[in-house]
């Protein structure tokens, strides 16, 4: 596996984990009274700043990825992060994954496999 591939995988994982952490951040202000109170709770939460850090890191690893991999190949592969986020939300947040969601995860994985066969 080449360095560009590893950077792309890191980017995909960072994007998916950032979504999970953002969801955890949003749970912080479920009971907040009003938008102001919710924002304050959000800015005080570790999850909010952690998700920002994850996304900023993902931007850097993504730009590094683009020095090596073709955009027409690497960009669609970012959709693997949707599938990964659904899997992670199922495992860590107890979210339900219905039939179509599994089917979509399968299709994205199939598309990713096809993509790996491209030059």
């Amino acid at each position: 596996m080449k360095l560009g591939d590893i950077l792309l995988i890191i980017t995909i994982v960072l994007l998916a984990v950032a979504q999970i952490v953002q969801k955890m951040a949003s749970r912080r202000f479920v009971d907040a009274a009003g938008a102001g109170a919710a924002l304050l709770l959000l800015f005080r939460s570790v999850e909010f700043w952690l998700s920002g850090l994850l996304l900023a890191t993902a931007l850097i690893t993504w730009l590094c990825t683009l020095t090596v991999l073709e955009l027409s190949k690497a960009y669609p592969l970012l959709s693997v992060s949707y599938a990964l986020a659904a899997l992670l939300s199922h495992v860590f947040l107890d979210e339900q994954v219905g039939r179509n969601r599994w089917l979509g995860i399968g299709l994205i994985s199939a598309g990713a496999t096809i993509m790996l066969a491209a030059q």
Binding site: T67, Y75, L107
Partner: protein, 149 residues
Amino acid sequence: MNELSPGRAVVLVGVSIVLTSCAQLLFRSVMQHFSLDDIFAIDGAGWLLENAGAINLSLLAVGLALYTCSMVVWIFALSRLSISFAYPLLSLSYVLVYLAAVYLPNIEETPSLVKLTGSITMVLGVFVMASDSISRNSRTGSTDSQDRS
């Protein structure tokens, strides 16, 4: 925001797709001229000053600005659309980016039926994922519009 019609909101989704695609194309058009060795050789401010011209930071900044604009337009569009309808539409940028990266002269990428097939399969996957009834009805679903607004 109430005067925004759903039809216009869909147009805004289109604008957001075009903006985010342009941002990615700019990123690639700048980064394709670098090798990872260049990046890992960065030794702080001295290197940055020396190579600022070569890296074309201004184009990267334009890309970031377009990306930010696309997010703002996106959030405006979401004010009138459900996320389960709008989110999969974003994946259409994969096909747009493929066509532009292959056919625009500034980006030297080769057309390939395999890449196009892979892209379209993944776009289908995103649409099928979003069509799940759970994502629309469950209050805890990760694509619930409450999470992103």
